[in-house]
């Protein structure tokens, strides 16, 4: 049983995704989805326990040996990411149980759970895949599922955003597939380990092919993860989707592209392959663009969810920045920020969701005086805002510490300046919301009653507490991610 854990991460949700539409009508679908996610979480945590010591779980699908068969691999990074992703998933799924039936027409609710599980399967697939083609297939799976959970609301703006996303996602898929074709052409392998062994030679023989391949794969995954200036699809998609979808899209889905790139750049495109290529520099430049422009655009938004979506562009920039520096501290910071931002942004989107659920309004100006009626939500939002700015004792601070230290390790104090400037900008768009929420006077108070159904409030509170816990006591993920970063960079 233990042997099959890696494949369980993908197969469980996939099976769930097919079973829910069949058996999951009339409310049972939500419970089925919950159970599936919980089991996946359990599997991921078990693997985290096994791999924390540095062991790597290898799984051969159908017992075919690697060069031909499909290989899955779970290392500490994979297990950690899968655990946190599943955790966020669990919280969002609980939250969605009350939110989604009100948002969608009743006939499509069980499809929503199915798509949600399909999305999880895709995400876990990318995290565990150890060959390029599977990476591609699972990327497509999660893109289609993500598109599904955007468009399922059947409203004009959702449809439009979904089509925009789908088309750009197809461009990305084309780039990735062509890149894979080129890789295969020069090496004859798709398994990452074999590629890593073959590629240095290939890079010497066919430098132009390898250059084109690296460029194509980078562009493809960067598009999927909304690296500036390829982020144009993100604000529409994330703000028009139902709130639980937004939480997952901003929290997890954009990270998956980055995880895939980190895998590729640390296992395959290492040393001699990219020594001649300016890809890291390119990434840093784009990341800086994303950090600054994301923040500037976020400042001009009036819609709460759009503001959060633009903030995601900034945060993705942080992660790419830490990644592009390619030193241990910065990479640790980037990996940590993947987790932290996943927790934070899903929490913030759920806060926004609860606010919309309760009041039916979504403009930032309507949040004035919210704390009178929804103190817990507002507290969590405040924690989230503080973490986004990077104030100590929140988890955002810990990742920012590593990122800034990483820029200095890399001898780039200017980049540290960029990070800090964008933190200041973050405070300029987050804090007025917080201040107005606590001290403002509501134009029209929401209907009286409790803050919201407990199944919507508690997931938010749980994630917010986790943000604080990871802020005060970050040693477990830090130690693991430090090891991972060292391993990935081959030191």
């Amino acid at each position: 049983m233990l042997k099959h854990l890696p494949v369980l991460l993908t197969v469980m949700p996939l099976a769930g995704a097919f079973l829910v539409p069949v058996f999951g009508r009339s409310g049972r679908g939500h419970r089925m989805a919950l159970v599936t996610v919980a089991v996946t979480l359990l599997a991921a945590v078990t693997m985290l326990g096994i791999t924390a010591g540095g062991e790597v779980l290898r799984y051969r699908v159908g017992d075919w040996p690697p060069p031909w068969g499909i290989e899955l691999r779970v290392d500490a990074l994979g297990a950690l990411l899968a655990s946190f992703f599943a955790l966020v998933y669990l919280a969002v799924t609980i939250f969605a149980g009350r939110d989604i039936p009100g948002e969608l027409n009743p006939a499509s609710v069980h499809w929503y759970w199915s798509l949600l599980l399909l999305l999880l399967a895709g995400i876990n697939g990318v995290v565990t895949a150890h060959d390029l083609f599977n990476l591609f297939v699972f990327t497509e799976v999660f893109s289609l599922a993500a598109c599904g959970i955007i468009s399922i609301r059947d409203r004009l703006d959702s449809l439009e955003a979904a089509i925009k996303y789908l088309i750009l996602s197809a461009v990305a898929a084309g780039c990735i597939l062509l890149g894979i074709a080129l890789v295969y052409m020069v090496t004859g392998h798709l398994n990452l380990s074999y590629l890593a062994a073959e590629l240095p030679m290939a890079a010497r023989l066919y430098p132009k092919n390898v250059l084109a391949m690296v460029a194509l794969l980078t562009t493809g995954f960067a598009l999927k993860s909304a690296l500036f200036p390829l982020h144009v699809w993100l604000p529409d998609a994330h703000s028009s989707a139902p709130s639980p979808s937004s939480a997952l899209l901003s929290g997890l889905v954009v990270k998956v592209g980055i995880v895939a790139l980190i895998r590729l750049f640390t296992t395959v495109f290492t040393g001699p392959v990219i020594a001649a290529l300016p890809v890291p520099v390119f990434m840093i430049v784009m990341a800086v663009g994303g950090i600054i422009f994301g923040a500037l655009f976020a400042m001009t938004q009036r819609d709460l969810k759009r503001m959060l979506a633009y903030s995601t562009v900034t945060q993705v920039g942080y992660i790419y920045l830490g990644f592009g520096l390619l030193n241990e501290t910065a990479l640790t910071g980037a990996l940590l920020h993947i987790i932290n931002h996943a927790l934070l942004k899903s929490m913030l989107f759920m806060c926004a969701g609860l606010f919309i659920h309760r009041t039916g309004k979504r403009r930032i100006a309507d949040m004035a005086g919210l704390a009178r009626h929804m103190p817990l939500t507002m507290s969590c939002f405040t924690i989230g805002a503080m973490a986004m700015v990077g104030i100590p004792v929140t988890n955002g601070f810990v990742s920012k510490w590593h990122l800034v230290l990483g820029t200095l390790h890399g001898g780039q104090p200017l980049l540290a300046g960029v990070i800090l400037l964008s933190s200041l900008l973050s405070s300029i768009y987050y804090f007025p919301v917080v201040v107005a929420g606590w001290f403002g006077h509501p134009a029209s108070p929401p209907p009286p009653g409790p803050e919201g159904p407990p199944s919507m409030v508690w997931p938010i509170v749980a994630l917010a507490s986790l943000c604080l816990i990871l802020g005060v006591w970050p040693h477990l993920p830090l130690r693991l991610l430090g090891d991972v970063a060292r391993t990935l960079l081959g030191r």
Binding site: I391, V404, L408, L420, F431, P432, V435, P474
Partner: protein, 510 residues
Amino acid sequence: MQQAFEFPTAMPALIVLIPMVGAVLAYWVGLRWESVRNWLCVLVAGASLVLCLSMYPFIREGGVVVTRLPVLLPLGLSFRVDVLGYLLSSLTAAIWLLATFYSLDYMKGEHGVNRYYAFLTLTLSGALGTFMAGDLFTFFLFFELMSLPAAVLVIHEETREAVQAALKYLFMTIGGSLFFFFSLVATYQLSGSVALGTKGLITVATPLSFLTFAGFLISLGVKAGMVPLHMWLPDAHPVAPSPASALLSGIMIKTGAYGMLRVMYEVYGLEFLQRTGWNSVLLTLSVITILMGSAVAITQFDLKRRLAYSSIGQMGCILLGMSLMSERALTGDVFHFFADAVAKSCLFLCAGVILKRTGKRDIRQFAGIGHLLPVTMACFTVSALTLVGIPPLNGFVSKWQLSLGAFDAGMPAYALALLASSMLNAAYYLPIVLTAFFDRSVQKEAPAVGVALNPIVKKGAIGWQLGSIEASAIMLVPMVLLALSCAVFALSPQNWPLRLAEMAARLLMQ
């Protein structure tokens, strides 16, 4: 360099923890029993004071109280209380106790009292932690823990201008803290450690280490109200409730100067700064701060705004003292922390009484107010004279030492700046006092609008009596105690704050 004795105890952590827990407790208790909460907050501040003072036996022997908590946060927490930290944390706890006590009456009948007390107590935790921090990281943490809750105190009135002032305060504080954050990381990068008390973490002058210095200067300058980074201060301090203003001006802005002191003498070290001359940046800025702050104060007619600008001027003196780099200047400097904290808190508390009892903020309407509020105005006068630097009050002692220090440092010109400061202080404090006591021209007019609410003053409309609307005992006791301490310590032969300041200066100059 002699190694200080280290006493590992959990005392500093406990001192920080008590107000933190107290704040949360106060909030929950306050939802049901208001008076229990009020006295709980006083008790918490009192307990902090007692615990702070109880470290005296260690400090007297020249020791250092140390606590290390390595398991928390990326770098771990540590506390390290030496004589300087001891003096300032005791002072903080004492003034907090008095201000909280004062609030018992002042805040009666206000809105949002529960929030006020909780955040007041939480801020105490931050301020104490800042003064007792054993490394820059802990300093930063508590600096933030103090600065951000203080925004809630600023915004307390929830008026438009309060919200704007608070936002300005927040943005500048966060901007400043980002600079601090950069310097913190850079220090770690340059030296691999951020521990305080080592005399010279950074020893090589490189562009990065200068950037680091600039970052510290900017971030701590924002907090300390150093010109040109003072913009938030004159807006934020006046709009807060008066006891909170007293703490903001009396204690919280001192944390910026305190941080600068630690940075200059312990992160960079005396020798390093003498070699590179970077302290001249601060020297120049501090003179500008003194002159600007004091000059602008003269043009302000809102009492609390004038006091706020006066704070900027006094912070200039403190910054000047630390950048002169001589032992006597440092003695005066540390003593000026004490003198200004006591006097400025007292002034703000007096301003609170004036505002509460007469409804007046504009000093042009203060004529004859000294007869209505004799004790309050007496306290006001003593504190004002302290800041002017009239012998034999505290302010004189500190300015005297500072001036001597300027001569020691071979820069007598800076003594002139101090003299100018005193004269400007006189120019804006004495008119208030004189109007209050000796201007009888408008005494027979009907009282201002705000006063009409007060039944006692209604009677006063037909003929004002001495002390007719004097503050209650609860508000008077803190003011009188503070005013007394302006004089008592300077007059007594056992001037222990001065002794401690001397010890601290010696420690820093080592």
